[in-house]
């Protein structure tokens, strides 16, 4: 677990500001950002497309969407319900990935601190 607030311990002198540009251009940070973005951006694009398919299909093709699948439960309702499942699945996938990101951040921070000493 990271404790970002431990950088500012009460009573201690404020530590010198990290060299943001040096960290940003470092390999470890670039790797972290690439890893994050290669999950976050495709996931965002996917959920936006999947979500807007619902109002578009329901709005422009109500007859098609009204076809029953099981009993009186139709495609429109099942597709709406699938949006909840989709949101939860992406959530779980993200949380699992984020553990790797946390590990990368921990390493990066401990190395940055070490360099400053």
């Amino acid at each position: 677990m990271t404790h970002p607030s431990s950088a500012n311990q009460p009573g201690a002198h404020p530590p010198p500001a990290p060299d943001w540009e040096a960290i940003e251009s470092g390999g470890e940070f670039r790797e972290l950002v690439n890893a994050k973005r290669s999950f976050i951006f495709p996931a965002t694009a996917f959920f936006i497309v999947y979500y807007f398919a619902l109002p578009i299909l329901v709005g422009y093709f109500p007859e098609l969407m009204s076809r029953d699948v099981v009993g009186e439960v139709n495609i429109a309702y099942l597709f709406a319900l699938s949006q909840f499942i989709m949101a939860w699945v992406i959530m779980v996938m993200y949380v699992r990935r984020a553990r790797t990101f946390d590990g990368m951040v921990d390493q990066l921070i401990s190395r940055t601190r070490g360099g400053q000493r």
Binding site: T2, Y51, L54, G59, P62, Y77, F84, A87, Y94
Partner: protein, 543 residues
């Protein structure tokens, strides 16, 4: 004394006790604005859910489904999926780079008082619109459910209580009010859903079978009379499991998509939701909050199907309303309370009414604290005082006064607007959040070149375009029949066809931000991006 009144009183006594406890732990700015960052991710998840699930969700969606069937469920879907934007793009970087307000993040790179003022103005606009809508709702609801309390008394009561929570208990009291309300709301919704399903022998298919027996009808334009449209053609009939009863005709599908845009993007720009992520100690805890919030909010919105379909089949939309002068005036907000009465009698009706009351109170308290911190931290401390010397006591005092003034304003406006249809204010709040706040938040976090010019033009264009378009839309303009219960603000034919402007105003906000950035010659924002980028992704230097 009615049972409802008794349950209200129990809720009030418990929350005031919490406020007293919290008031002893609320002295510094970090304590007042963000509960000393002492809330855990799990607790904050419940609080986010409590802040988010407003009376519009609980009573409004149940009513929409009860009156229009499937189409009402569209709100439920959008309101959950919206949290993916919060989870993936906003919550953690916001927690890592800001201290107290939404403007903290927007002004991080662009240390300009103009940026901060515009961001604070947008926060105040969104929160005040949302607050007025909630309070007018509270007024009509409380006076309906407990006839002993009049409309104005109800609004003043809600207003004074929310002010007591916020002024004395700060964010700590507000958080616990949210948590209690969320627990009550979930308990009530689960109970109602189980009782609805029990009526269908716990067969979901059986419930859908009954729902398909309920139907409604519509015309391309106008409302049908006795199954016929104005042009002499028969009205289109759909059963309640089918889409189209609310969104139909020439502009229906586009309205539905525009609503989706407002919901999906607006949530990540609601200041009262964003400030909740400052109450937890770290970005990881912020992530945990969103996860719990998504589990709760998702389960709740799936259950709105049972509430709405339950009310449609077991109560019947023709019975949902208030008796006035011997005729039943339809009122969608009463779908859930009347369903409770049908299923569990007076006691259950009282319980559900008390939940609705707690819901409104908690949401307005959250809105009040978000707007008071925007005024005290952003406008007073950072712009008027130019961040000279942080006098904690003075700033908390200013925040308390700001809360009192904003709360008083909301009470006065809610009373003044009581006879108008103000439901559009919630849509407006979401549209402004989506069109003004979200482009600014996303671009400052993810676009190195973004600068002051882009931020200010983007926010101003997003804010103005959503307000202007909504004023021209059917939400504000419309010709009412004489004697209608609620009236449109402007009695004329609408000039903009969609209820919600987001499909136009969100792209406008983004384009203005882009153009403003390219045309602006100031430097500095690009350099500051390195610091923001490292902080946002690692939590280095976070408070």
């Amino acid at each position: 004394m009615s049972t409802s009144l008794l349950m209200f009183l129990v809720f009030i006594v418990v929350t005031l006790g919490i406020t007293y406890w919290a008031s002893k732990r609320t002295a510094t700015t970090a304590e007042f604005y963000s509960a000393g960052r002492s809330i855990t991710g799990f607790q904050n998840g419940w609080a986010v859910a409590g802040d988010y699930m407003s009376a519009a969700s609980f009573l409004g969606i149940a009513g929409l489904i009860a009156f229009y069937g499937y189409d009402g469920f569209m709100y439920s879907v959008g309101w959950l999926v919206a949290y993916l934007t919060v989870l993936l793009l906003v919550a953690e970087p916001l927690r890592n780079t800001g201290r107290f307000t939404m403007a903290d993040v927007l002004a991080f790179r662009l240390r300009s008082p103009v940026v901060r003022s515009v961001a604070a103005a947008s926060t105040l606009t969104v929160s005040l619109f949302y607050m007025i809508a909630q309070m007018v709702g509270a007024g009509s609801l409380v006076s309906l459910l407990i006839p002993q309390i009049g409309f104005n008394t109800a609004i003043v009561m809600v207003g004074v209580l929310m002010l007591v929570y916020v002024i004395f208990g700060g964010m700590l009291a507000t958080t616990w009010v949210q948590i209690i309300k969320a627990v009550l709301l979930m308990a009530g919704t689960v109970l109602l859903s189980v009782l609805v399903l029990a009526r269908f022998d716990f067969s979901v298919l059986g419930m859908f079978e009954a729902v398909s027996q309920v139907s409604g009808s519509f015309c391309e334009t106008g409302n049908p009379t006795a199954g016929m449209c104005a042009d002499g053609s028969p009205a289109t009939v759909r059963d309640f499991t089918q889409p189209g009863l609310y969104y139909h005709g020439q502009w229906g599908p586009l309205s539905l998509i525009s609503l989706g845009v407002a919901l999906i993007f607006g949530t990540a720009g609601l200041p009262h939701i964003l400030v909740r992520f400052y109450t937890v100690p770290s970005a990881q805890a912020a992530r945990t909050s969103v996860v719990w919030a998504m589990i709760l909010i998702g389960s709740f919105y799936i259950m709105t199907t049972f509430l709405g379909f339950g009310a449609a089949t077991l109560v019947g939309k023709e019975n949902i309303g208030v008796m006035t002068n011997g005729a039943l005036a339809p009122n969608q907000n009463l779908a859930a309370p009347l369903l409770a009465q049908e299923l569990g009698g007076e006691i259950f009706l009282s319980f559900v009414s008390a939940i609705a009351f707690a819901t409104i109170l908690a949401v307005v308290a959250g809105l009040t604290i978000a707007s008071s911190s925007a005024f005290a931290h952003d406008i007073w401390f950072s712009v008027v005082k130019r961040g000279m010397r942080e006098d904690e006591k003075q700033q908390v005092m200013v925040a308390r006064i700001a809360a009192a003034v904003i709360g008083g304003l909301a009470i006065a406006l809610a009373i003044a607007l009581r006879s108008l249809n103000v439901a559009f204010l919630v849509g407006l709040a979401f549209a402004v959040a989506a069109s003004a706040n979200v482009p600014a938040i996303l671009l400052t976090l993810y676009w190195r070149r973004f600068n002051t010019g882009g931020m200010v033009t983007g926010m101003v264009v997003g804010l103005l375009s959503s307000i202007i378009l909504i004023v021209l839309s059917p939400a504000v303009m419309g010709v009412d029949a004489p004697g209608a219960a609620t009236r449109h603000l402007i009695q004329a034919a609408p000039l903009f066809p969609l209820d919600n402007p987001a499909i136009l105003s969100v792209p406008l906000g983004f384009i203005a931000a882009l153009l403003g950035t390219l045309l602006w010659r100031g430097k500095g924002a690009e350099e500051a991006y390195s610091e923001l980028n490292v902080r946002a992704n690692t939590g280095l230097g976070a408070v």
